[in-house]
Amino acid sequence: MSRVNVAIAVAEEARLGIYEIAAACRAFGFQHLATLADIGVLTGSAELEMLPRIRRLPGVVAVEIEREFHGKRH
């Protein structure tokens, strides 16, 4: 079992139902941290092996594991 932070994008036509989609994700062990309704994204964490199932949920268009960023000063 490996838990990862994820970002989940919901389909444009499903954005009004983003809270229902969040509930469906929680059924697969998604720990919901934030709902970014204006850009249609849920953030939180989930078990790595559950990500394909979350991706197949109606209204979910992308699931990505969190990346690290850095300022681009040379």
């Binding site: 932070n5 970002a7 989940i8 994008a9 444009e12 941290l33 934030a34 970014l36 309704a37 204006d38 850009i39 249609g40 994204v41 953030t43 268009v61 992308a62 699931v63 990505e64 969190e66 990346r67 690290e68 960023f69 850095h70 300022g71 681009k72 000063r73 040379h74």
Partner: protein, 393 residues
């Protein structure tokens, strides 16, 4: 030290017709650089003569004072800026090691503005970004910096437990280039859009590192705050052949639809000429404008990543990215830096000028306008995209 000749920056899009316009305006006998091949610099210019660099939108002139005055005074003339040509030394007191050698003169800061503002034609722009909101998603801002004392600033931290104040300097630098004041408390002007309203989102910690959750939350906040321009001077390396991240592409497309354009740096992982790294995430999203860095000869910077991956992994535009002066947190107040992080805020500031010039230019329309605001460069599109981003006049 000046050579006695002049370097003219011309209105964009004139091509070879600029030669005729310079002849009509000041009686200059003009030749085209394309007619000389690589030997034109060995050809001395006689008084009253000039060479037009069609692809650069620039000309080298040997004009007398009357001709210079005619070029400066004539309404609708092709010349935007006329500067004395400078001698360049290989070992000056300034650090020129990061600038490529070449035939172009080395641009430098002047009392009126940094070299980046001159190269992007910001100093002659009639626009200031007034009425336009620009979001800087970075390490925050020194909210007590004297150069930002009179500004409308909304700030929020998305880094848990860390205030928005910038102790790293990266965010203050980027905010300074995009939206620094017209008249700083010290030194030359360094900011592109001095009247824009600033929305500062701290999404990177004080070591200039961050994670998706904070960055996405910052984008959401900026979109909700009606920011026409969102500058993310941050990135995460990708491998050759990698596709763009789907979540960010959805986010960027939605931001465009909501009237907010995302701009991001190409990344600094190249070691040219030996190694060129691909454009990073999130600049590799098709809906994000990707900015490469130029040196003071307007050649691609040695560290600037290239458009190697398809489907969004291209460079869209290039901007000044070496020896850039801007703001620093107190007590230093000012700093000089290099990187594609320093280039992206030039494009962000110019986007704010374009948004002021056309009140209906938001989202995709503003992006299209920005992508058409360039001066062609000799380096290939893989490295500089369409060319050097230019301010509206």
């Amino acid at each position: 030290m000046h050579t006695g000749r002049q370097l003219a920056l011309l209105r964009s899009g004139l091509g070879s017709s600029a030669a005729r316009m310079l002849r009509n305006a000041a009686g200059l006998r003009m030749a085209l650089s394309s007619d000389f091949g690589r030997g034109f610099l060995r050809t001395p210019l006689a008084p009253g003569e000039g060479v037009l660099f069609e692809r650069l939108g620039a000309a080298l002139l040997c004009a007398d004072p009357q001709q210079t005055q005619a070029l400066a005074a004539r309404a609708g003339a092709p010349v935007l800026m006329l500067e004395p040509e400078r001698y360049v030394r290989a070992h000056s007191l300034q650090d020129v090691s990061a600038d490529a050698s070449g035939s172009m003169p080395l641009l430098d800061d002047t009392p009126s503005g940094t070299w980046g503002l001159e190269a992007t034609r910001t100093l002659t722009s009639r626009y200031s970004g007034e009425g336009v909101r620009v979001a800087i998603l970075d390490t925050g801002l020194d909210l007590g910096h004297p150069d930002f004392a009179e500004r409308t600033i909304v700030a929020q931290s998305f880094v848990a437990g860390v205030p928005v104040d910038d102790v790293n300097g990266h965010g203050t630098f980027c905010a300074g280039v995009a939206c620094g004041p017209r008249v700083p408390s010290q030194g030359p002007r360094y900011g592109v859009a001095p009247a824009a309203d600033l929305c500062i989102a701290k999404v990177l910690n004080d070591d200039a590192g961050g994670i998706d959750g904070n960055v996405l939350a910052g984008i959401e906040w900026a979109v909700r705050s009606d920011c026409a321009v969102i500058c993310l001077s941050l990135g995460s390396p990708v491998a050759l052949g990698d596709s763009y991240p789907e979540v960010y592409e959805h986010v960027a497309a939605r931001a465009l639809a909501a009237g907010s354009m995302l701009i991001a740096p190409a990344g600094n992982e190249s070691q040219r000429p030996d190694t060129i790294a691909p454009v990073e995430h999130p600049a590799n999203c098709p809906s994000v404008v990707a900015i490469g860095a130029l040196d003071r000869r307007l050649a691609v910077a040695s560290f600037s990543n290239g458009g190697l991956n398809p489907d969004g992994g291209e460079i869209d535009l290039a901007a000044p990215g070496i020896c850039i002066a801007s703001a620093a947190p107190r007590p230093a107040l000012y700093q000089t830096g290099s990187g594609t992080s320093m280039a992206a805020p030039f494009a962000a500031g110019i986007a704010a000028l374009l948004a002021e010039a056309d009140l209906f230019a938001r989202g995709a329309r503003l992006r299209d306008l920005l992508l058409k605001s360039f001066m062609a460069l000799p380096d290939p599109p893989r490295d500089v995209g369409a060319g050097l981003v230019q301010a509206p006049q």
